[in-house]
Amino acid sequence: MPSKTLSVAAIKNGTVIDHIPQGTALRILALLNLTSYPKIATVGLNLPSQSMKRKDLIKLEDREITQEEASQIAVFAPKATMAIIRNYAVIKKIPLRIPDTVEHVFLCHNQNCVTNKDRMSSKFRIIQTGSSIHLECVYCERMYSQDQMKNYIHDV
């Protein structure tokens, strides 16, 4: 089936996150705590793409991604594009910028890290070397690849 007809339905209001690396969309949903999103969220996995062969895509009905969330997404999907949609039209494209630090998003894997012992936020420095991204805990100084960051903090 050609990709044009395959592509998921247009949304009226919300956000389209496109050009997500293949296999990363579900992690982004988890990151944004959208796995139990009450509105329509359309997720496309392994879609054909001219620039990246295969890509993932997320459309969120009635949810506008903030600049801060966009930076968090950029840690996993540095080449993603994000557009805010109102009344079926793109009214804003959120520029992606990999942040210097991310606070209160990921859990440090080091069980003996102060962020897992005291009541406090985690904080990671983002270290970019070439195309690879690492996260370094500001406190215990452990270094993680982006693939290792699988535990997210979600305040209840």
Binding site: N110, N112, V114, K117, T129, C137, Y139, E141, R142
Partner: protein
């Protein structure tokens, strides 16, 4: 003279220090050694906060402060503090910071020193945060290398022992990568230096290599830095028994070394260095321990802004 760039600063991690910062501290340590300024810190109060016991480090800091005329209050382990009652480290340090001019802190949790620094404006000196950092140990190692070889640039240095878990080795390797040195990492394969440290060294274009035996590289060395191999790091005791003798230095191995080669060890040693080596000119670990006092005096004086 250069302005004191360390006044009021926290001493948390070697990662915070440039080559210039390091050389500046080492110069001031020399200055302290020559002038022995025994009233320099009079009227200053140090909080000695040892949330886990470390007699050697604590005595070294407390002696450093008192030898400069300063005063010390504190505790030697956390069993007597309100940390036992569930108070957060943040709250404890915020309160202690109101009493003293400088806090020296040892804590079993990784990253606790950085966290403590967020709680107070009083400068924090990290005297060991779990398996993470112990910057004054690294500074005294660098001071000792410079003292014994006249310069850090140009030396060949081997780090030997548990390089995987040993924070001393990590921190020293990172600090040495500011300099033009040649590094040899000598460890059993299961205890080799972690990739992120090796990558850091590589990024600084420092040449290094991995080895499983000491003897191959001994004749090339200016500094042999020995560390402990702890039995609890091994899942099987056969493996431990095999490597513990491979990483043991004996007198007969020193036949072909450079006359100026010096052996360092953060102490306490268990069986890594045979006591018969102590009498040779190569043994330098006791001077190294003594330098700890000088370097800590320099750091205290600098952070308290009493020396330029």
């Amino acid at each position: 003279m250069k302005q004191n760039i360390l006044r009021g600063r926290d001493i948390i991690s070697m990662a915070d220090f440039s080559k210039e910062d390091i050389l500046y501290i080492l110069r001031v340590a020399d200055q302290v050694k020559k002038s022995n300024p025994n009233r320099l810190l009079s009227g200053c109060l140090m909080g000695s906060c040892f949330f886990e016991p470390s007699t050697r480090t604590r005595l070294s800091f407390e002696a450093a402060m008192k030898r400069l005329g300063g005063d010390v209050i504190g505790f030697a382990d956390s069993s007597t503090t309100s940390a036992k009652k569930g108070e957060t480290l943040y709250d404890s340090i915020k309160i202690i910071g109101q009493y003293v001019d400088i806090i020296v802190m040892r804590h079993p949790v990784d990253g606790s020193a950085r966290r403590a620094a967020e709680a107070t404006d009083t400068p924090i000196i990290n005297a060991g945060d779990g398996s993470n950092q112990h910057p004054t140990q690294t500074l005294l190692d660098l001071y000792t290398i410079k003292e014994s070889q006249k310069s850090i640039d140009g030396i060949h240095i081997a780090l030997v022992g548990d390089l995987k878990y040993g924070r001393t080795a990590h921190s020293l390797a990172q600090a040495l990568s500011h300099f033009n040195v040649r590094l040899y990492f000598i460890a059993p394969p299961s205890l080799q230096i972690p990739p992120h440290i090796a990558n850091h060294v590589k990024a600084k274009q420092v040449k290094f290599s991995f080895h499983e035996k000491l003897d191959d590289v001994l004749p090339k060395l200016d500094i042999l830095y020995m560390t402990r191999i702890q039995e609890e790091r091994f899942s099987d005791s056969m493996e431990y028994n095999r490597v513990k003798d491979v990483f043991r230095l004996t007198l007969d191995q020193l036949g072909a070394v450079r006359p100026s080669m010096r052996i360092l060890h953060p102490l306490p040693r268990v069986r890594e260095i045979d006591p018969s080596i102590d009498a040779t000119p190569h043994a330098y670990y006791f001077q190294q321990a003594q330098n700890g006092l000088l370097v800590r005096q320099a750091v205290l004086s600098l952070v308290l802004g009493k020396i330029e």
